[in-house]
């Protein structure tokens, strides 16, 4: 794999996805050692720029960079000059002047990581851009699925909820279809329009139409911040028609994997018994997140020679 940035999974070839997942498996080992750190990115600087809220993704990237010995600094909308009216481009120019090696960016505007990747020499990792993509999340989801299913080829993954406004769903759809999985999506018509089928997925309108076929059920968060009036009547009604409860899980395959990218609205997308139940792999997703992000930083950060011969032979 030879690329500077990871902006999305659309168009990323299968070999690259396999290389990222295989590399991530090796990195899991680092988090289980006495000293959870390797010197690989010593002297490199990784900046996290989070213009939208995040707990998991930000902590996960930060920890991944630290476990590779990079120096990290964080930057968030609430604590930054953005509040004073600075544009993203000006913010980036200022960060650039501090000579970073990689920037991890989350922004509400789709395409903002792409703009930075074009304009600057450092690596850009998209940590979520509007409703477009969230590639590292999809990669950690695919790693979790592959751990349990052995392969993604031919497996059926059902994505349920507000698919249209979900960058997690979009990245998963690109990645999973590249890997040969079958993707079913289900949600209310306002959140799961028939046009989604152009992405190579099968569109259903009831959770009950996908449950029995699925090897994996991925529940999406209702993103109250992106909801517009008229998209659904009430949270209770949504939960009744699209929420995952024990009764629905019982109708699925006994070994079905229940996933959620977090944060969970308990009682909305799924009941607590399902979130904490035997089929749930939600916390494995979090553990795999650190490994996947270590793999991404390792594979993407290039740079000039640091000197020294190799005696690999």
């Amino acid at each position: 794999m030879n690329r500077k940035d990871l902006l999305g999974l659309r168009g990323v070839p299968r070999e690259d996805i396999v290389e990222i997942l295989d590399t991530a498996m090796r990195f899991r080992n680092v988090s289980e050692r006495r000293i959870k750190k390797v010197p690989t990115l010593r002297g490199r600087t990784v900046v996290t720029v989070f213009m939208e809220n995040s707990t998991r993704t930000r902590l996960s990237f930060d920890l991944a960079a630290k476990r590779l010995s990079a120096d990290t600094l964080g930057f968030s909308a609430s604590s930054s000059a953005t509040k004073k009216g600075e544009t993203l481009m000006d913010t980036a120019r200022n960060i650039d002047a501090m000579k970073p090696d990689a920037i991890i960016i989350r922004h509400s505007a789709a395409g903002s990581p792409h703009m930075l990747a074009k304009a600057f020499p450092w690596s850009v990792l998209n940590a979520g851009d509007g409703i477009n993509e969230h590639p590292s999340q999809a990669l950690l989801d695919m790693l979790t699925m592959r751990d349990h299913l052995g392969t993604l080829e031919g497996k059926t993954v059902a994505i349920v909820g507000d698919v249209y406004h979900s960058r997690v769903a979009r990245s998963n759809i690109y990645g999973l279809t590249t890997m040969g999985a079958r993707v079913l999506v289900a949600g209310p018509g306002t959140m799961c329009p028939p046009s989604m089928s152009e992405l190579g997925v099968e569109v259903r309108h009831s959770i009950d139409d996908v449950i029995e076929e699925a090897d994996v059920i991925m529940m999406l968060r209702i993103q109250r911040e992106r909801l517009q009036p008229g998209m659904m009547s009430t949270i209770n009604e949504y939960s009744h028609f699209y929420g995952l409860d024990l009764e629905r899980v019982r109708r699925a395959r006994p070994d079905v994997l229940v996933m959620h990218p977090g944060p969970i609205n308990r009682g909305v997308e799924m009941t607590p018994e399902v979130a904490d139940g035997a089929n749930s792999v939600i916390l494995e997703q979090v553990t795999n997140g650190v490994a996947v992000r270590m793999a991404l930083l390792y594979l993407l950060l290039g740079g000039e020679a640091m000197g020294g011969d190799s005696d690999a032979e």
Binding site: M1, N29, P39, Y298, G302
Partner: protein
Amino acid sequence: MTRTTGMNGVEVGRTLDRLATEMIEQLGIPTDYSLVGIVTGGRPIAERLADRIEHSTGVRPATGTVDITLYRDDLYTGLEKPVLGETKLPFKVSGQDIVLVDDVLFTGRTVRAALDVINDYGRPRSVKLAVLVDRGHRELPITADFTGRLLMTEKTDKVEVRLSEDEAGDDQVLVIPGERGGQ
């Protein structure tokens, strides 16, 4: 200048026999130490040494592997990243006597990196080094405790160790001449 050629299968086998004998002589009961092969070249040699030690004493020392990729001092050369190998140390590292095993000792940088890996897993009581071939041209103050064969080489030569999977006899060590400077 004298340059020994490589080794054939019989020579590799005898050299490993001798290394195993020296280790039995000097290290005592095999349960007291572990052999750790450096990925990729050192791994099969560690296994073969363990086989021989077991054959002579009836006891097999524990074996493990270290992958040094993440600890290399030349990782960022603008090339594609090497594939990560597996570090597997299936014993308690702290307090353990360890023999690091590699196929070729050259600049010493690989061994330096391997020592760093081991140290991040624990603090061994001691670490010794066993190599099949020492080809010279050290760049660090590192030397082997158990050396199979000394090879006189030019720095630009390549030394290749090819081991068959099942030790069927087609093992060889090749010295491939590199560019000659000012001769």
